[in-house]
Amino acid sequence: MKKRSRLGVDIGGTFTDVVLEHQGKLYSNKVLTTFDIPEDAIIEGIKGVCQKSAILPGEIEQIIHGTTLATNSLIERRGAKIALITTEGFRDVIEMRTESRFEQYDLNLVLPTPLVPRNCRYTLKERVDSQGSILKELRQEDVDQLIDIIEVANFESVAVGFIHSYLNPSHERMLEKSLKERLPHVSVSLSSAVSPQMREYERFNTVCANAFVKPMMKSYLDRLTSRLLEQEINCPVFLMHSGGGIISLDSATEFPVRLIESGPAGGAIFAAKIAEKHDLDKVLSFDMGGTTAKICLIKDKSPKTARVFEVARTYRFKKGSGMPISIPVIDMVEIGAGGGSLANIDSMNQIRVGPESSGSKPGPACYDLGGNKPAVTDADLLLGRLDGDNFAGGSINLNVEKSKVALGKEIGEALSMEPIESAFGVSEVVDENMANAARMHAVENGEDLAEFTMIAFGGAAPLHAARLCQKLGIKKFIVPPGAGVGSAIGFLRAPFSFEATKSVFMPLGKFDQEVVLKILAELTNESTSFVKKCGTEEKIVIEAKAYMRYSGQGWEIPVIIDSIQMVAPTKNKFQEAFELQYKSLFGRLVQGLDVEITVWSVNAVTNTVLEYPDSTFVSNKPKTELESTSVREVFDPALGKFTEAKIADRKVLNSSNYFTGPAVLVEDETTIIIPTNFISEGREDGSIVVKRVDQ
């Protein structure tokens, strides 16, 4: 069932990662991202893995691709010249947002600029009401007149968003038809197709974002296809989407907004597969790179999903300072905390870390490339977590003195602390920031992290994983093999899937079986036909959900619609399923209130091969302590002092031995820190499991 030679490609902010899976083995290659011509890096990366695996590019049978290009285009505001056409009276929805300030104490707050400037937002006389009925008909002559204006202004791409169009898209479709007839070269995006959900601000923003990136993504994907052909690669190319599934090239071209955050989504899938292999039901995925850390909950081996997220935050990653995009997405928090995050002192003499990052140029002070501000990596170096002579496989020499000077100047002087204490402070603050983000994410999802296992990947994560576990009360973390290219590996493990959603408001008091069946059939048809277009022959599984709440509440909870409900839905069964789920989340039911459904979703997904738990995990083989090759002083933040840590190569640790902290496991891509009271063991799949030892 699995293809013999499959390729995963992840274009990230700094690196383009290419992973080839050939006859069950993985070959990876990391090359610098070439932003002007992104396909260059891909071709270079492909050549590299082909060489390593000794296959010809033409032998690659399938490519799964994820990219940060759509995200970057929105962050940098480089995209098509677009117009928004909306209902008369609502020209400014995307500009007025929620009418609030995301930072309450800043008198000089600057609000994010809307994606479409006001002079490019046009209105038409038309109106649909909250029941989906037409209150005011759209007239063809108004449409024709507006198209004249669009033509003169020479827009490349048009977004259409009418009020309540998620209930009745007929006016949006009428406009689309005329636009396509008269201006066939202009790309058109409809809010009822891109994101058919209630709440005009999110929906309009999403359709604008789609229109904004559409011409550019189409051009990129066309170029990529032809460059691959030049290399005699003519296998199918699929795209990773933000919801953690795979879609066809055509769908990606039509709905490029779904490609946003596809890299981190791949990382979450990667962690989910490790969870499967290790048979873990509660996992916290912790992906820490150079600029940001991504934290995601993975329950019962699948990442949590959400329906809205925010892209391009303009103010210190602050919630509300970006653009909301409502598409199916893997629910995660991303904060400005990475190896390159810079530390400074605020007016209350408190240490602050990030979200500003030193990037790859000039990098942390210790890179000695002209950076003189201390970054998290400088603190890690000073605390003995990194070996300056063996960083990134010895490719960069880290200068301890530069770290000392930078930390001393920026932190130590103000707080009268020694450089080491400053480093400790910086490291504690960044760990605390990440721990707080994780806690908040858990609370928003009603979870208690104490029962979770952490899966740590990305270059900086294994350095900070143990401390984060201590802060979160987590007892065990796993560093999987291939942690450095986790997202690209995740692409190869992702199922083909498409989630179709629809907002149809229905109080259970007005439950209508016929309507429900019609909605479910429509969504099932839409989602399965998308997946079938991917040319997959694998079996398609349907996962349906209703988003439900008590009348009067603002937050819906997802309730699974089982196979019986799919064919014979009843009010009572919906009620029961909702109450069961509500109780498990919040403990107490609310008596005497009606329950309502706001959004319906059907996800069509191919059956991926399940990873079976590795038998070596429970082996009773006698184990021996691994011998260390050397020792060095490593600071233990829980003890508040340096301890003498043993050093060994990660590759030597396997399922027949163990290594007790304080210890350090080294490899080219990262370093695993094992503090006092932690013990590490190898696994047959190459993972390192690090556990807390109860005293």
Binding site: M96, N108, P114, N119, F155, G473, F505, G552
Partner: protein
């Protein structure tokens, strides 16, 4: 050396704990004002009732008023009567957060059998009985049910008598009782996280960490205050009021280690429900000062203490029981602009010009119109909307369009609002020419037009100011657009009070804009052109205020015709 770092970590942790507490409230609340608009606050206190940390989520009126509230609970209930499993409650406007619609819930936090502190939270609930949410009451007795400070849960036992009384007195009993439980749940979440923190850091009480927080906050705040010139200045602003125009007067004195803010000379209480308890006055005066002087210092007892706010008894900013206070926010939200009138003379080039100030809220009560024969199929409905005018221009920046200041709440999506009742919102968009001209332009207000489905009439309870007193500019900036409300047949409506809208009629609201800052002729030409291209300012107004030339008009017409991307500059 560990302790220095540990205290830093604990401070961050406490702020994160109260933020979790607030999120739990949003997540489980019923009132749209809490869950969509964020009209709430949450905080943690030491055992003396001094606030240690407070959630960033929330609105200043709640936030700073609640800081004082826990001390009232300690005084009235007394520590000897406090037990594990207790939860306390009140909606006292003078000991809570200013009107009966806000319920404050306080939970004592016990660790290893000892009282170590308190969690408190406040939320604006959907109804509290009485006349409903509006300005028309003559005394607080008409404004709804009053819950004195008492135990809502006693040693784990819910006070069923209180629940029965609440249920019997409010229009939406399930939702109100649901929200009271949600408030209790949110304190519980905070308490659980605090226990985890105390275990992790092996603490037995919070005194040391609160001392660390207070000392750091205090010295940081005093540094900021002592860097200001020691002067006394006066500020004045006149606003609409209800019965008569209201004069707001303030005397601001910067002294060593403190700022005095006295509202002597301000008009007396109004007969209708727009009066402000002192606690709410303090909240917004303090908020205004903190924004301008020490914005980055977290709120706690020590960082708020150096700001001393006073107002003579019986003036509208220190209304005593039983004055009606339901719409205390309409006046309260205008306090910052008044304070800034004085502060601008002490700390130049810092504070904004006047803005819309008050949130522009209204409540719609829909019912079948009398002549309707199928009225049995039609239901009554209550719809509440929060909306914002424009904020004042800043010394170096334009004002913000349709954005709340000083309030911290959000608006509700119109698609969601239309699902709550037979209301149709025909228009909700920016109001061109409402931002006052200036070197920096005031933020634009907005137009709203509402009606109902056929077969309904409705009462609209309006809560608007700035009808007769539009926002005034500083340094030569021009005033913002005034509030105008009328029906679609041209009939004028009052800015405040409940008014009938007959079947088939619509209400047209023009919400106020912010004032400009600096002289209009000093405005950057590119900004002037951009504003006209974007339609923020009409060509006529640009000619009038900015001396727009014919060449510039041609430039603008081309940009509009060619769909030029004129965002930003």
């Amino acid at each position: 050396m560990t302790s220095k770092v540990s205290f830093q970590v604990m401070w961050n942790r406490l702020i994160s704990i109260v933020e979790e507490q607030a999120q739990a409230l949003v997540r489980t609340a019923f009132s749209t004002s809490v869950r969509e608009a964020g009209d709430l606050s949450a905080g943690v206190y030491n055992r003396n009732g001094e606030m240690i940390a407070q959630a960033v989520t929330g609105t200043p009126g709640h936030v700073n008023a609640m800081a004082d509230s826990v001390a009232h609970f300690i005084r009235r209930i007394q520590v000897v009567n406090m037990f594990e499993g207790d939860i306390y409650i009140t909606n006292d406007p003078w000991e809570g957060t200013g009107h009966l619609h806000d319920i404050t819930v306080v939970t004592p936090s016990f660790f290893a059998g000892h009282l170590v502190g308190f969690f408190a939270c406040t939320a604006h609930i959907v109804d509290i009985g009485g006349r409903g949410f509006g300005a028309d009451a003559n005394s607080v007795y008409e404004e709804g049910l009053y819950i004195p400070i008492m135990k809502f849960v006693d040693n784990g036992e819910v006070n069923q008598t209180l629940i029965a009384i609440v249920r019997g007195n409010v229009r939406e009993p399930d939702q109100v009782v649901g929200d009271i439980f949600a408030l209790g749940t949110c304190n519980e979440i905070g308490h659980r996280r605090l226990v985890e923190m105390m275990n992790e850091f092996e603490l037995s009480e919070l005194e040391e960490v609160s001392k660390f927080i207070f000392e750091n906050s205090k010295s940081a705040t005093l540094d900021k205050i002592n860097a200001l010139p020691r002067r006394t200045e006066n500020g004045f602003m006149q606003i609409d009021g209800y019965q008569n125009y209201i004069d707001l007067k303030v005397k601001l004195s910067v002294l060593k280690d403190e700022i005095l803010c006295d509202f002597d000379g301000t008009s007396g209480v109004d007969k209708k429900g727009i009066n402000v308890p002192l606690v709410y006055t303090k909240a917004y005066a303090c908020y205004a000062l903190k924004c301008a002087i020490a914005p980055e210092i977290p709120n706690n007892a020590a960082s708020l203490a150096p700001f001393r706010i006073t107002a003579p008894e019986g003036c509208i900013l220190n209304a005593k029981h039983p004055a009606p206070v339901a719409l205390r926010h309409v006046i309260g939200h205008l306090i910052p602009d008044t304070v800034y009138a004085a502060l601008d003379k002490i700390l130049p080039d810092t504070v904004p010009s006047e803005g819309a100030g008050s949130l522009c809220n209204f409540q719609v009560s829909l019912r079948p119109s009398q002549n309707d024969t199928i009225s049995t199929a039609r239901k009554r409905a209550e719809v509440l909307m929060f909306n914002s005018g424009g904020s004042g221009a800043r010394p170096q920046l334009d004002g913000m369009n349709a954005t709340a200041f000083p309030s911290g709440v959000m608006t509700m999506p119109i698609e969601a609002t239309e699902h709550t009742g037979p209301v149709i919102i025909w228009r909700k968009e920016l109001r061109p020419d409402s931002g006052g001209a200036g070197k920096f332009r005031g933020g634009l207000g907005q137009f709203i037009e509402i009606g109902s489905y056929d077969g309904y009439e409705f009462d609209v309870s309006l809560m608007f100011d700035r009808v007769f007193h539009p926002a005034q500019g500083r340094k030569g900036g021009k005033p913002g657009g005034a509030t105008v409300v009328c029906k679609d047949d041209g009939t004028k409506m009052r800015g405040k009070g409940i008014q009938l809208v007959e079947e088939g009629r619509r209400v047209q609201m023009s919400l106020p804009g912010g004032a400009g800052y600096g002289h209009p002729l000093d405005r950057d030409r590119k900004a002037i052109i951009r504003d006209v291209v974007l339609g923020y300012v009409s060509i006529e107004n640009s000619k009038r205020y900015y001396d727009l030339s014919l060449e510039e008009i041609t430039l603008i017409e081309d940009a509009i015709r060619l769909g030029q991307q004129s965002n930003g500059l």
